[in-house]
Amino acid sequence: MVTYIIRRLLIVPILLFGVTVLIFGMLQFLSPVQRSALYIRDVPKNDRAVEGVIKQYGLDKPLYVQYWKWLVGVEDSKTGERRGGILFGDFGYSRVASQPVADLIRNRFPNTLDLTLWAVAPVILVGIWLGVQAAVHQNGLIDQAARIFSIVGTSFPTFVFGLVVLMIFYANLEWFPPGRLSDWANRVVLSDEFVRYTRLLTFDALLNGRFDIFLDAMRHMILPILTLSYISWATFLRVTRSSMLETLRMEYVTTARAKGLPEKDVIYKHAQPNAMIPAITLAGFSIVGLLGGVVITETVFTYPGIGQAAAEAAAQLDVVTVLGFALFNGFILILSNLVVDVLYGFVDPRVRLS
């Protein structure tokens, strides 16, 4: 197990290096003047100022010099202050949001995390349950329904589905609005008596004892959660169904049946735990995916998470901001994939040895 973890840890720096190179490579599509936007906070007064920035950060130097300065930043010769440097969390300055990209991410990420935490259970548990049911009743009514559902589900683009549920539940029924909070709730949250303990809105609302705000926040999250569930269910269903079918054909399951165990125990105690391994991997990756910000879902529902911010910046061609989000996303994905892999090693002993 230890060697497995060590082996897995060794890949992390390589992946981190690779992702920074990939994103740095994309930066190279821009001219030095455009790249100087990384470090400029106000509209520059004249061209000389831009030239100064280009000189200071070596934007006209060879690639490896630029890459290094991009990683660690440069020290101001007068004040000794370090400026720039993605390794120190300085991802540049966002033109669209007029604040540093790092601050923008800090403001937006709790919303994405909040959504992820509430979406995990419906997305994963229901998806797996559907898959198990489809396999147990293979070719039965549930299976056929599940099959049709999964084909229709994978064919319905996220944004079309999102628009349709908005049409039904917001425009027609006025039950679930898009956005994050109603105006009255937002005023309370911004006021002084509302303490931001965790920065996760639903949890803060509960900790402050404001159940009305909690409900309002949930009301805004129902449609995104519904959309996320629906896009993931089809995949979970398919994966769980096929691995469950395979397990049900194994000899130890036949043995269990031959011993005279009730069918319920055979399925849920003997077969299901072993059939869950692929579904667990998938679950890991989908949590990671949710954490990275779900660009389209957040955009359709104007939910202020990091995915929506990235999409907005991209539409306005604010490349610095977009690349900042990409970096953050890459870091999160690499680290949480590591966690998933290690956990996976605990669940399935075969993985450790391969």
Binding site: V19, V152, L166, M167, N172, G292, V300
Partner: protein, 347 residues
């Protein structure tokens, strides 16, 4: 090749006991395994429905100028605008400005010699029907370009990686891993945003972005297939008689490894079109008013609160996109069953 010789005389017993069957020309051309894949696809009801949907869209794409003639002949992809009103107009409202010529089918079917907006108009007087019909061409164009290019890149990368193995394989596969780190849509979004200033607003940024982050899957599949074929005896034989590396790779290995990937890739057109539409929905890619489904749908973003009145601005283009993707998915689903190794050897 091996000719089945049947002994002379009365062979009825032999014929009945050994299941000799006629091998058609197509089967001989494709080989038994590929032939099984093909017939498997043509026999499932779901995939037949899929083929019908795909065929319908191919027909629409080819016949687009006959279905609704372009208003400006040299710029058929810009959706004609009936005025500049921000409010959408419902289906059936009269078409007043920028009216296209009447096609031959219009009078007999619609029983009128005046164009109406069959699916209504979206914000800014853009005709939705025109966008849906000509958007079909955009869909096939982008889908084909992206699929062919990603497939080529994937084949080259995957086969080089598998054939040389060792360090080369290791390095290439790590690069593939790195490209796979970022979620596909986010990565494509970023690349498209970075290159848009270079190309201007057009189809190119989104196409390049989808290619840039779309080739990795194929290279993995091809690599796996080649790894299994490279150990076959005929490859060894070719090596023994001194065929060059590139000759072995391109003449002996790839032709034998490629068929499943080709089928898989051709069905990926649905996914590519979906991702392309998602990018243009997010505001990346084409100029406003370009006939492309994502673009037409993105008009709806300004009317979220009144979608109960303006339902047609999402329902028609949305359904078009859903049917298009579903056509490819139905065939793809049948293909997955056929390619499932557990099904191999069954008729």
């Amino acid at each position: 090749m091996a000719q089945t010789t049947i002994p002379a005389g009365d062979n009825t017993l032999l014929r009945e006991s050994s299941s000799l069957r006629e091998i058609g020309r197509i089967e001989r051309l494709l080989g038994p395994e590929n032939y099984r894949i093909m017939t498997g696809l043509l026999k499932t009801p779901a995939s037949i429905l899929g083929f019908i949907l795909i065929g319908l869209f191919i027909f629409i794409a080819i016949a687009a100028p006959l279905i609704i003639p372009p208003v400006r002949a040299n710029d058929p992809y810009s959706i004609p605008r009936d005025g500049f009103s921000p409010n959408p107009e419902p289906p059936g409202s009269a078409w007043e400005r920028n009216v296209p010529d009447l096609p031959f089918w219009y009078e007999p079917i619609m029983r009128s010699d005046q164009w109406v907006h069959i699916m209504g108009t979206s914000t800014g007087g853009y005709d939705i029907f025109y966008g849906v019909i000509w958007g079909t061409r955009t869909a096939f164009k982008t889908g084909l370009i992206v699929v062919v290019t990603t497939l080529l890149i994937g084949i080259i990368v995957g086969s080089v990686s598998a054939y040389y193995g060792g360090a080369v394989d290791n390095i290439i596969m790590r690069i593939v891993d790195i490209f796979l780190t970022l979620p596909f849509i986010l990565a494509a979004l970023i690349l498209a945003a970075v290159i848009t200033p270079k190309f201007g607003k057009s189809l190119m940024p989104a196409i390049i972005a989808l290619i840039g982050f779309g080739w990795m899957g194929y290279s993995r599949i091809i690599r796996g297939d080649i790894l299994s074929i490279k150990e076959r005896d005929y490859v060894m034989a070719a090596r023994v008689i001194g065929v060059k590396d590139s000759g072995i790779l391109f003449r002996h290995i790839i032709p034998n490894a490629i068929f499943p990937t080709l089928v898989l890739a051709s069905l990926a057109i649905g996914d590519v079109v979906l991702s392309f539409a998602a990018l243009s929905f997010l505001g990346i890619g084409t100029e406003i008013g370009y006939a492309d489904w994502g673009q037409v749908l993105s008009f709806a973003r300004n009317w979220i609160t009144s979608l109960n009145t303006y339902w047609y601005i999402i329902v028609f283009p949305g359904l078009t996109l859903v049917f298009f993707v579903m056509g490819w998915n139905l065939v793809g689903d049948a293909l997955r069953d056929v390619l499932d190794p557990r099904m191999r050897g069954k008729a």
